[in-house]
């Protein structure tokens, strides 16, 4: 019994199953030596080619030399690509790929400068290099399997298991291709040098160079080179194998040489065997000893439709159309351009695609050579395909299931072991494109597998998320519990009381807000906006015992409003007044907040006033929100107010307080003056004063009447003071607001407010008096007001309501003054 090595030495061959003998057309291209083609103007280098994770080493506009690496990467699978010629990178963009799909892939477009200058090459003495250095050099030269699959060579040269046998594949079984044939004939010494490097790296027991018997010249040249080389005698031999397609397939070749079958789903390295192409061995030699990266390869350009068929050194990235033009290609109708051989290649949808590292042939057949695909007929179950299949599969069963889209069943017939050699399609009497069906089935299976994997990962992630959420929840609960315990332990009696008080305060606030809200809701029936404002003013009052006073005031307000609506009908400036009213509301809000800021230093009375003002401010805010006339402007001013009030209100408050004191003194006298002045000035000029103003001045008048009735100037003074404060605040506010570009209304108001506070007060009171006699209906409310004034407390509250009204009146008037040019200040 001979061992495997003995049999290898003897040259024993085994039969591989299946296979076909298609007509040989190698004579078209193998007669002439490997030629050179003129440089193309642009080169298209897809990046990345093998191994996805890498970064570009160049950018658009960079000058590159021949051999400059275009990509960098750290992954073991990364294989750099290099500039195929010297020139400029003009674009890095998706371009059609040299793939059956023609999908665009990222491509580095290099405009050649025509000089074809090499970058600096570092030749090496093989003996100086360690194994790792050699593998690194092979990797950085970007060497991929040149047989067609373009598997990174450095991985195959760095196997985990012991390698006993290296097979150098010079079989080249595809009927048209002769690239390896010519390479072996012309560069046998270089190939042997490359084999020497492989021998050094892998240290196999035997190296077998396998060549088909239809290439006797190549076999002879290789044998001569083997005889001359320095490798140990007996460790390397040339084995000529019988011509049969597809003997060049890796698994088939192993079976022919060793008689062993690579198990399904396994790789040859598991058997201690590695197969390299002769072109790869040549490229390894170039890379290691001369330092040249893989930038060009031998490509067979063949077919009856090129007038110069043959083998050419083509830079990687040469556009196919350039090659065809240079070899004088004459296209015919429905011309096919096939990349690879006729058996396993794919037709191009677009010839603006580059030559890749695995491209060994461009075939442009005439219609006599390869006709259009005949019509597919029904499978007759002849079994020819099963006989031809080199992988011992059952092609008709696979076809059956693939066609029915029962991919699971197809997979159970070992579809994945199909090498897509095309033998079954070749022998099929029904002209069924079987391989196409298998490709579809394979991609569907791959997709299903990917989906399954993704579903599995999604499930894991979902479970992990649930676990995490649960954990977080528990942690949170534990933390809360711990914190509560700590609080319980440290809390004293007073703290508890403080908390209870705070809770009570919050509850009270909420209740107040609710009350205010319901008050606002009930009174929103009146038609005019200004009436609404007045009504809310009155309803804001009901606090403590003020309910009676409020009721009276409301009745008054209603009557006054009725009268006013009648009067406003006659006026043509209705819309103007409404507009001003809404802006007045905004101003009111501002003043109210100022009052809040001032709250602390003020007296008890002022506090009540402030509370009312606050409630009013809320109402005003609600109103301004709903006001249909100037929604954007009001919104702006309120937001500005919010922004301003924090910092500026305090300052304004301080200023206002100081001013208020002065103003109060002034105002007191003015108020008295106003009372005395009762009548004459310009009722006509005020004819178009707004309903709102009328309303409020009427209320102010009530206030004055109250003051008269009680005969306490204090109240009047308080009214005046509040007014003065408000005006002062408004002016202070407008000063600060000027910086942040407040609304125009406020600025205009500032103009009116600043000249003299007294003047405005004067007009307000004057007007009040002017209105009084003109409205007969107002007499009754005034009497009731006088009645109510008997009770001092009630009166005080009424006074505060009136005060608030007066504020508004003053404001409205100011606004009016700013809009109407005919007002007193002018």
């Amino acid at each position: 019994m001979l061992t495997l090595l003995d049999q290898l030495d003897k040259g024993t061959l085994w039969r591989s199953p299946g296979g076909i003998h298609p007509p040989e057309v190698k004579f078209l291209s193998n007669a002439t030596p490997i030629g050179q083609l003129p440089l193309a103007s642009t080169y298209l280098v897809p990046v990345p080619q093998v191994g996805e994770n890498c970064t570009l080493a160049v950018k658009v506009g960079d000058k590159v030399l021949k051999g400059t690496p275009l990509t960098q990467g750290t992954s073991i699978w990364h294989l750099p690509v290099h500039a195929p010629t010297s020139g400029t990178v003009v674009a890095i963009e998706p371009r059609a790929s040299n793939h059956a799909s023609a999908l665009p892939v990222n491509t580095c477009v290099i405009a050649a400068d025509g000089k074809d200058t090499w970058c600096e090459l570092v030749p090496n003495q093989l003996d100086d290099l360690s194994h790792q250095q050699i593998v690194d050099k092979i990797r950085s030269a970007g060497i991929a399997g040149m047989g067609g699959a373009a598997f990174p060579t450095h991985i195959k040269l760095n196997p985990v298991s012991e390698i006993d046998l290296v097979i150098i594949n010079g079989v080249e079984c595809e009927p048209y291709i002769s690239a390896d044939d010519r390479l072996m004939r012309e560069y046998s010494q270089d190939i042997l040098a490359g084999i020497g490097i492989i021998h050094r790296l892998l240290a196999p027991k035997r190296i077998v160079i396998a060549i088909e018997d239809n290439k006797p010249e190549a076999a002879k040249a290789m044998q001569a080179a083997v005889n001359q080389c320095g490798l140990p005698a007996g460790s390397i031999r040339v084995t000529v194998i019988p011509t049969k397609y597809p003997s060049g397939g890796e698994k088939q070749l192993i079976q022919i040489i060793t008689g062993r079958e690579v198990p399904s789903g396994s790789i040859p390295a598991k058997l201690g065997i590695v197969v390299h192409n002769v072109g790869t061995a040549f490229a390894i030699h170039q890379a290691v000893t001369q330092g040249k990266p893989l930038v060009e390869r031998v490509v067979t350009v063949t077919g009856k439709n090129v007038s110069k068929p043959g083998n050419y050194w083509l830079p990687i990235g040469t556009p196919v159309d350039h090659v065809l033009t240079a070899t004088e290609f004459t296209p015919e109708a429905e011309q096919k351009v096939i990349i690879g051989g006729p058996m396993m290649g794919h037709a191009l949808a677009n010839i603006q695609v580059p030559i890749l590292k695995g491209t060994n042939c461009i075939l442009v057949p005439s219609s006599q050579e390869i006709g259009s695909a005949p019509e597919e007929k029904a499978c007759i179950r002849c079994g020819e395909c099963a006989t031809a299949c080199p992988a011992l599969l059952l092609p008709q069963q696979l076809f059956w299931h693939a066609k029915a889209e029962e991919y699971d069943k197809a997979a159970s017939y070992n579809l994945k072991d199909c090498i897509e050699c095309g033998c079954c399609s070749y022998v099929c009497p029904s002209d069924i494109p079987l391989v196409e069906y298998y490709r579809i089935a394979k991609s569907a299976l791959k997709q299903a597998a990917d989906e399954k994997q993704q579903a599995e990962r999604a499930k894991q992630r979902f479970d992990a998320r649930l676990a995490r959420l649960e954990e977080e929840k528990l942690a949170r609960e534990a933390k809360a519990k711990e914190a509560a315990e700590r609080r319980q332990a440290t809390m004293t009696g007073t703290d508890k009381n403080a908390v209870a008080e705070a809770m009570a305060r919050i509850a009270a606030k909420k209740a107040a807000a609710a009350q205010a809200a319901t008050g606002g809701a009930t009174i929103e029936q009146p038609a005019t906006a200004e009436l609404n404002a007045t009504a809310t003013d009155t309803t804001a009052a009901p606090k403590g015992k003020a309910a009676v006073a409020a009721a009276i005031a409301r009745a008054k307000a209603k009557k006054a409003a009725q009268a006013n609506t009648e009067s406003t009908k006659t006026h043509s400036v209705e819309t103007d007044s409404a507009q001003i009213d809404s802006s007045a509301n905004v101003d009111e809000t501002e003043s109210a907040t100022d009052v809040i800021a001032q709250e602390a230093p003020l007296s008890q009375k002022d506090k009540v006033a402030a509370a009312i003002a606050r409630a009013k401010a809320k109402k005003a805010a609600q109103q301004t929100d709903t006001a249909p006339l100037e929604p954007t402007e009001t919104a702006d001013s309120t937001s500005e107010l919010n922004a301003a009030d924090d910092k500026k209100a305090k300052v304004a408050a301080a200023v206002a307080r100081a001013k208020a004191k002065k103003a109060a003194q002034q105002a007191e006298t003015n108020a008295e003056n106003g009372l005395n002045q009762t009548a004459t000035p310009a009722v006509d000029s005020k004819a178009n004063v707004q309903a709102d103003v009328n309303d409020d001045t009427e209320a102010a008048a009530t206030d004055i009447n109250d003051a008269e009735a009680i005969k306490k100037a204090k109240v009047a003074a308080a009214v005046a003071r509040a007014k003065a404060k408000k005006i002062a605040a408004a002016s202070a506010e407008s000063k600060t607001d000027a910086e942040i570009e407040s609304v125009d209304v406020i600025r205009a108001e500032a103009n009116v407010a600043s000249p003299s506070i007294a003047a405005t007060l004067d007009t307000a009171t004057t007007e009040a008096d002017a209105v009084l006699p003109s409205q007969g209906s107002a007499a009754e409310p005034i009497e009731t007001a006088q009645l109510s004034s008997e009770e001092l407390k009630k009166a005080r509250i009424a006074a505060t309501i009136a005060k608030a009204k007066a504020k508004k009146a003053a404001l409205a008037q100011e606004a009016n003054a700013s809009s109407d040019s005919s007002v007193t200040n002018d």
């Binding site: 790929s97 793939h99 059956a100 799909s101 023609a102 999908l103 892939v105 949808a349 196409e436 490709r439 579809i440 991609s443 569907a444 997709q447 990917d450 989906e451 993704q454 579903a455 599995e456 990962r457 999604a458 499930k459 992630r461 979902f462 992990a464 998320r465 995490r468």
Partner: protein, 204 residues
């Protein structure tokens, strides 16, 4: 008489022995949960999208095991429904939801518009969105199941569902069948198809 007695005693003994055996086996070989749920879950696409009305794929698998319908999984499509029907031994039914497009999609966050609210992160059932509060978020496209759950909570509508781009790795041979039509053929067909129209017009 004694024969009958012996038979009765023997049978009673046998019954006792087998009773004990069965009882032991019931305890010893007790199956936790319903094994069919695992099988059903393996069929479901694990998008965890909740379109079936259950919070995740496992709850839906449990519901099917308890007699719920098998046609409530739009991401799985008809193929999944058929598998579920076969496993449960029920008649396949058309999908409940509107047949959504079978193109796989993944979420994409327009990052310059993202305000960093973390709402989408909380919504994602598979933790495929990364980011932190007030910082930009982004989607891990390889982990995104395309369940749409993050689109709704986004306050600034900066999440798009974009179809997965086709590349050389996920390219399907059938999908790219370029319909090649001969110009002359189509022309002649057009002429043919026009003729009856003309005739119809004339009739009108």
């Amino acid at each position: 008489m004694s024969g009958i007695l012996i038979a009765v005693i023997l049978l009673t003994l046998l019954a006792l022995v087998f009773g004990v055996l069965l009882g032991f086996a019931a305890l010893k070989f007790k199956v936790e949960g319903n094994p069919i749920v695992d099988e059903l879950e393996a069929i479901l696409p694990q998008t965890q999208c909740g379109q079936c009305g259950y919070p995740g794929c496992r709850p839906y698998a449990e519901a099917i095991a308890n007699g719920d319908k098998v046609n409530k999984c739009p991401p799985g499509g008809t193929a999944t429904m058929e598998k579920l029907a076969t496993l449960m031994g029920v008649e396949p039914e058309p999908l409940n939801a509107e047949a959504q497009s079978q193109v796989k999609k993944v979420a994409y966050i327009r990052e310059d518009e993202c305000i960093g609210c973390t709402k989408c992160i909380q919504a994602c059932p598979v933790d495929a969105i990364i980011g932190a509060g007030k910082l930009m978020h982004t989607v891990l496209t390889t982990d995104c199941t395309g369940c749409d759950l993050c689109v709704e909570p986004c306050p600034v509508d900066c999440i798009d569902m974009i179809p997965v781009t086709q590349n050389l790795k996920n390219w399907n041979w059938r999908l790219n069948a370029i319909p090649v039509t001969l110009i002359q053929e189509t022309l002649s067909k057009e002429i043919q198809s026009k003729d009856p129209q003309l005739e119809e017009e004339k009739r009108c």
